[in-house]
Symmetry: C2
Subunit: 340 residues, 2 copies
DNA sequence: ACTGGCACTCGTTACAGTCGAGTGCCAGGA
DNA sequence: TCCTGGCACTCGACTGTAACGAGTGCCAGT
């Protein structure tokens, strides 16, 4: 059980070397590249203990050692030192994000930036509707029996839906509907709208009742149930970095997982606020992603969190660097959002 | 030069066999699996000619033959028979597309459907703004100096942009701006708006002039220059089908190309109307896609074309089947759009 | 508690040999 | 003239063997 300082140092050295060389690391190489102050034989003894405890393993009998998921976990929790961003990286972040023109633009730039800086697959969740408030609802007549409903949230998100009315509704009535809906809902948190919408249907003058009823249905669907979350993805080509060694030879399961919004949301959807979350290997719940790690965090204007972002890569990844980058990008995006 | 009927039949047989088995096909196997009515030796002579003409080649001296890009081209142009969709496929298409609730939904369902049916990477271009008309422009005040501009196109697309006004504009003025802008632009084709916007700025009452000027800038940017085209993608996991044999061992270049919207647009952006376009191997202009083929076509309500869709896969693909599917899906989507 | 030394394991590489699919070519026949 | 059977040849795929070497575990010595 007892892992003295040197054993921890050995584990750290193994992780660092393996991450950078991608090859199992042996005892001799270790003492050469790090100042451990002991001989290879001693290191071997330490390694035997580390292996017994499940922190490292040998791919085959006569090979060096490789960290296990558990080893990475220990490394991340206790051994990694914060790696400050290089000035070049800071500059890249700033340069990349100025000039963003609307929310879509911000999200797209962010996700590309993250992919580029970390050289991994980047995922950015649009500001969650659940955490947004209604800024304005617009009703645009398409024909006498059709409306386009446009919802603008305070986070900048815009959602639209076609509303098929039960019968023709004159322009004046549409005007009234718009006013009523906005009076009641503007400023409300999305998550609090259902009772308000319900109340609306009941309060509305009887001639507007049928139209309002269908409108309410669509509203609830749009605001609460459907779509809800959107996601942007970039850098899938980075999966091919490191040949086929990572991901045990097949990108198939990874690519499949990346196509599922639900999966991505679970991965980067923020849970505890403002912490950076690291999921290593089989710590995440999806079989397809057993060979991958995810580093994610929440972002938002000021202290509030409106969405998550993160990256996905091989378990053999540069955790300190990636964590630093993810955090930095999240902070910058938050500042950017605060300006709007 | 002269390719008699039998030689063409041989080529067709080679393509069909290679597509289904993924292995170089030899003369004996050919006569066994197809009723060519001649001996292997004869087929070998024909093969020699086909090879000389560049339609097939041998991976190595003692192997069977494999079609070249040129061979596929000839096959697609002259040898493939139309493959009718199976009833199951027809049903899948219908089932998949009913219940789509707005444009985003239509596009997403379509792209997933295409990927699923063809088992390849599917790409769907949103209805091109260039081919859309303005249905309505909405101005939503965010603060006294900020507006959210929302443009709704007749194709269902909705674009939004934040407008930073040069100074505070009272609500009444916003109201006027909205009316003016809609009077002038509603119904106009997007491509025809620039002069109209220009005229607007000049005609507007002087107290609205500064606001209208910035608004005009943003309008032009939104309507004509920026974003312009959007794209949906699905089925990247299908790239891993067929092991690493397709795409000469590395998905890297393919994945990189798929991340570039510009590339995708060039590939599936429709050129001549209503034709199905097939780009085989190096016929397309991107080095990264030398090992891939693209089947694409335009779609739109009725006879007009508003966007493109298609699939990307290995040159060794089932062209007749893929072409049939792409066409069918495009037709259904067109019908769906016509209903709105 | 650490170290040098040593036997051992086992994946990697190189090389030789066999097998067999597939070819090109030629001489003979319809 | 065109097709066919036959035959020698090529060359990749596979198999078996041997040498190599990185790395280990263990033990005796300091």
């Amino acid at each position: 059980m007892g892992l003295d300082d040197r054993k921890l140092a050995v584990l750290r050295a193994i992780v660092e070397d393996y991450v950078s060389t991608q090859e199992p690391v042996g005892s001799r190489a270790l003492v050469e590249r790090h100042q451990l102050g002991v001989s290879p034989a001693t290191v071997r003894n330490d390694m035997a203990v580390l292996e017994e405890e499940g922190y490292i393993r040998q791919p085959h009998t006569s090979a060096g050692r490789v960290p296990t998921d558990r080893g990475y976990r220990l490394f991340v929790d206790r051994l990694s030192r914060v790696k400050p961003l290089s000035p070049a990286e800071r500059r890249a972040i700033e340069r990349f994000l100025v000039g963003a023109v609307d929310l879509d633009d911000v999200v797209h730039r962010t996700v590309r930036l993250l992919a580029q800086l970390t050289r991994q697959v980047a995922v950015v969740q649009y500001p969650s509707l659940a955490r947004s408030s209604v800024r304005h609802l617009e009703l645009v007549p398409i024909s006498t029996t059709r409306l386009m409903l446009v919802m603008i949230a305070d986070t900048g998100r815009v959602e639209q839906r076609l509303v098929e009315l039960p019968g023709p509704v004159p322009a004046d009535d549409v005007f009234d509907l718009r006013r009523l809906v906005n009076e009641k809902l503007a400023g409300a948190r999305l998550s609090e709208t259902p009772p308000l919408v319900q109340a609306l249907v009941e309060e509305v003058p009887s001639e507007l009742r049928p139209a309002m009823t269908t409108l309410a249905t669509v509203l609830l669907e749009t605001l609460v149930e459907r779509h809800e979350e959107r996601i942007a993805l970039a850098g899938t080509a980075n999966l091919t970095r490191g040949g086929l060694l990572d991901f045990q030879g097949s990108l198939r399961p990874i690519l499949e997982a990346l196509e599922e919004e639900v999966v991505l949301l679970k991965l980067i959807g923020e849970t505890e606020p403002s912490t950076t979350r690291v999921l290593i290997g089989d710590e995440n719940e999806f079989d397809n992603l057993r060979a991958a790690s995810v580093v994610s965090t929440g972002y938002g204007p000021g202290a509030t969190i409106v969405g998550g972002l993160g990256v996905l890569g091989p378990t053999r990844m540069d955790y300190p660097g990636t964590i630093a980058t993810v955090r930095a990008v999240a902070r910058y995006v938050g500042e950017l959002l605060a300006q709007n």
